[in-house]
Chain length 205, copies 2
DNA sequence: CATACTATACCGACTGGTCGGTCGGTATGC
DNA sequence: GCATACCGACCGACCAGTCGGTATAGTATG
């Protein structure tokens, strides 16, 4: 028994893999690189993860859980529950400190490929996405708005993660404020009507 | 005897590579697969492209040119020049027929990885992005708006390309209309002022 | 017209290297 | 004596890129 295993080996593998993905990209992530980083052998690695793909899936799972936790935590602090989750998500997306610490953007980006080629993961991602919108709607955000903001956030983190964004700090702040304003659920029925536009019109049954 | 080369071999290689990327993803694209598809030899391939990366760069270049052409073409038909480009981009992004024919979304997604790992490509992408926004601004769209819509479009095609989007046709239409409405440059100075909102902004209602 | 030279297009066996995964083992604690 | 954790040599596949060659079209020369 490895008494000096302060953190479980499994967790250490996960951390190392995450570091490597962030540094060199998913495509250059090899099991060999991971075990070198952790100081483990091939056999040791495959003792903890049946395949390399299992590692990736576990990493994705951990990431999603962590992000969800952060959003929930921040949303709980919002005095106004309507759209709190959405606003929390926006704020976190623009939190550059958090970005550097956890870098979920860059990580998620790395996973995009994995999502694409794995139906199971894709299904999971789709569910997650639908759930997110549904939760926003439950909090009082009109569906069209929720979809719009969600899309904008995805686009934002994508460009940030890829390093495409040429936005200044000021521009970023402006974009964030604009998004938060959109996420603000208004009491005014007129405003609410304006936001729902076409989507309303009674449908579904 | 290249007499029966109706389309240049180079072009045929590009087409084949595009097909393969769309079918199996960028990570599983190999030169061998491409030459099998085209019916060419290793030597033949490397006669046309110095490296595999050259092929990818050429493909990306062709894609960008084509998309740009489509947007410009559609924008030219818009009677209202202000924000015409942006609206054209929105419409094209939601054009599912075009999507299946050209599938630039899925292709672009495949390139995201390439962009990430290649500084030169990243620089190019950043420039392209900045140019797009600048052109929108030149057409009269407030910068904040342009950034917001651009981000939303990116997010939309990302989720579409990945296959995450769980949107119904109706939801998509609603989202598109909402985006187009945002892209509509209003004549009213008051409205224009509201859209620009930066630091100063009306709080709640 | 024939010969010679050149450039372009293409061939395919081969090389050097990477990588995921296997398997027969060892050490240790219960 | 059984389970858990870990070791590391090895295997097979895949793959980018090389290289020495062939075939043909075009052009120049005598």
């Amino acid at each position: 028994m490895a008494a000096r295993t302060y953190e479980s080996a499994r967790e250490r593998i996960l951390d190392a893999a995450q570091r490597l993905i962030l540094e060199r990209g998913m495509s250059r992530l090899s099991v060999d690189a991971v075990i070198t980083e952790v100081g483990l052998s091939k056999g040791g690695f495959f003792h903890h993860f049946k395949t390399k793909n299992d590692l990736i899936l576990a990493l994705l799972d951990r990431l999603v859980r962590r992000m969800d936790g952060l959003v929930a935590e921040l949303a709980a602090k919002d005095p106004q529950p309507r759209g709190a989750r959405l606003r929390a998500q926006i704020v976190l997306s623009f939190d550059s400190k958090r970005q550097e610490a956890e870098a979920p953007q860059a990580l998620l980006l790395a996973f995009v490929e994995a999502v694409q080629s794995q139906p199971a993961v894709r299904r999971l991602a789709r569910e997650l996405n639908a759930q997110t919108v549904a939760r926003d709607v439950a909090e009082g955000v009109p569906e069209g708005r929720a979809m719009l903001i969600q899309a904008a956030l995805d686009g934002f983190w994508l460009s940030e993660a890829v390093g495409i964004a040429a936005l200044t700090a000021k521009q970023k702040r402006a974009l964030r404020d604009e998004l938060i304003a959109l996420a603000r659920v208004e009491a005014s029925p007129a405003a609410a009507a304006r936001t729902t536009t076409k989507t309303r019109k009674g449908r579904r049954s």
